[in-house]
């Protein structure tokens, strides 16, 4: 049940309470991702606001922001969006086809929220890139991205692994690994003009 997403409140009054409640729910889930432990909060009260915010942030940061970059071949905003959401849907379908008992939106919610460490990595990379370019710069970024990638995979596995039959856990987790690997690659290879 997505209590956080579904309650419009009184139609006549513009009450700030549901918005604050939504934001608190999103924030609470961010905390759960940053300190992953086996809990059902992400699964029980799923919502897609958090993944949307994270996806938009990531896509914006992966932009280079100049007009004549058409030929550069870097990911455009829509491309990042498509990759994240299409990837999440594919992994969810895969998980359900293998016999997992997680619902479609719960799985999307978990996968979306677990992009948080990689979004943090993107922020750090952008800051590091303001400094002088060089091998040290690259090593720092590589280290940060690897750590955050591992964090994302561990966080999402902690939530998703329980929903799979035990003899198929690896089959369900591998696409998650691939998905975050691709996003990490996009972050690592980001070079501004």
């Amino acid at each position: 049940m997505a209590e956080a997403a579904e309650s419009p409140g009184d139609p006549g009054t513009a009450s700030p309470r549901p918005l604050m409640r939504d934001l608190k729910a999103v924030g609470k889930k961010f905390m759960h991702v940053l300190y992953p432990r086996r809990s059902n909060t992400l699964l029980r009260d799923w919502d897609l606001w958090g993944p949307l915010i994270l996806c938009v942030t990531l896509a914006l940061m992966l932009q280079k922001g100049s007009v004549d970059n058409e030929k550069d071949g870097g990911p455009q905003f829509a491309e990042v969006f498509v990759i994240v959401w299409f990837g999440a849907v594919t992994i969810t379908l895969n998980s359900k086809l293998l016999g997992g008992n997680i619902s479609f939106f719960q799985s999307l919610c978990v996968l979306g929220y677990c992009i948080l460490p990689l979004t943090v990595a993107m922020l750090i990379c952008r800051l590091v890139l303001l400094a002088e370019a060089g091998p040290v710069n690259f090593m720092v970024r590589l280290f940060v991205v690897i750590v955050m990638f591992a964090w994302s995979v561990v966080a999402s596995t902690a939530f998703l692994a329980d929903s799979q039959p035990p003899n198929r856990k690896v089959l369900a987790v591998y696409p998650v690994f691939l998905f975050y690997f691709i996003i990490s690659w996009m972050i690592l290879t980001f070079t501004p003009e």
Binding site: N94, N167, T191
Partner: protein, 326 residues
């Protein structure tokens, strides 16, 4: 009226007759556990016989065929229908991958590993991994070629991923479709002992592409000799898996058609592998620039002609330094 007789203890005869009577009752349950060890790919009993067994399938594979037919009874518009194609465990997927890496002459991949349980998990995710492996190694090899050039601007060339994905997935689906249609057509003319379902062919093709994933990653090494050796090994393994799988299906046929089929299969596979691996080398392709102001984004290997500035693809495959006209 025989109630009293029924209540009396019945004396069974001596042991011999009771054993003679009983085995009929108990053999049905005992024989099944005895027969199951035969299902496993056991030690070769004699290469010719074993090959025929593998090809024809012993009685039990007929039973599994029937059971498999009973399994897939959901209509195609339900989710459960598609779940039957993902009915594999982790160890089964690993076994199939191992079988595609180690082609043993005489062993048929389909009969040995797939055993009437074709899955779509392997082909789909192996193709996805291959697409990204090619994209990443194409990027990396391009980057390594231009390492150290101050004017080189790294671009991830993202849109080419979709082209690579289209090609690989098209190969993994359309070629099996064509092959299946061809085999069905030949089956109607010549009674072949071995015939494969469409999904089994998709499965074989999907798993046979696995060898290209490590090959694509190792292809980053810019040495020509290493690349040639890698592509030869990959094509050898992959092609032999396919050839050994499909030879039993066509060998009953006219000799020339059988040979032509196998040659076509291997040739198409070779085209795909060479195409994929060369695309890693030429990942950055060509780009043309018209404005002299963008000179700063050019690499060393560029020169000016009448039309504007051109960039030479220094691919590292056939040349290490571009020869620029003076």
């Amino acid at each position: 009226m025989a109630a009293v007789d029924d209540l009396q203890f019945e004396e069974f005869g001596d042991v011999a007759t009771s054993l003679a009577a009983n085995p009929n009752a108990t053999t049905i349950s005992i024989e099944d556990p005895d027969e199951t060890p035969k299902h496993l790919p056991g030690p070769p009993r004699g290469s010719g016989r074993e090959e025929d067994d593998e090809l024809l399938g012993n009685d039990d594979s007929d039973k599994t065929e029937l059971l498999a037919g009973q399994k897939k009874s959901s209509p195609f518009w339900t989710f459960e229908y598609y779940q039957t194609f993902f009915d594999v465990d982790t160890y089964q997927v690993f076994d199939r991958i191992k079988g595609s890496l180690l082609p043993i002459p005489g062993k048929n991949f389909v009969r040995l590993y797939i055993r009437s349980n074709p899955d779509l998990y392997g082909p789909f995710w192996i193709c996805a991994t291959l697409v990204f492996a090619i994209a990443i190694s194409g990027n990396l090899s391009n980057f390594l070629i231009h390492l150290g050039e101050k004017t080189y601007h790294y671009v991830p060339e993202f849109r080419k991923v979709s082209i690579a994905a289209t090609i690989i997935y098209a190969y993994a689906w359309l070629v099996p479709l064509a092959l299946w249609g061809f085999l069905m057509w030949r089956n109607s003319k010549v009674m072949n002992i071995v015939s494969y379902s469409f999904l089994e062919i998709v499965c074989v093709y999907g798993y046979s592409l696995f060898i290209y994933i490590p090959t694509a990653i190792l292809w980053i090494i810019p040495q020509k000799a290493v690349r040639w050796i890698l592509v030869t090994i990959a094509l050898g393994i992959s092609g032999s898996v396919l050839a050994m799988t499909f030879w039993p299906a066509v060998r009953e046929d006219n000799r020339r058609i059988a040979l032509a089929t196998i040659v076509t299969i291997v040739l198409l596979h070779m085209l795909l592998s060479v195409g994929c691996l060369l695309s890693i080398v030429f990942w950055s392709g060509f780009f043309w620039m018209q404005h002299p102001q963008q000179k700063s984004r050019m690499t060393r290997a560029s020169w000016k002609t009448d039309g504007g500035w051109h960039r030479v693809p220094t691919c590292g495959w056939c040349c290490t330094e571009a020869e620029a006209p003076v």
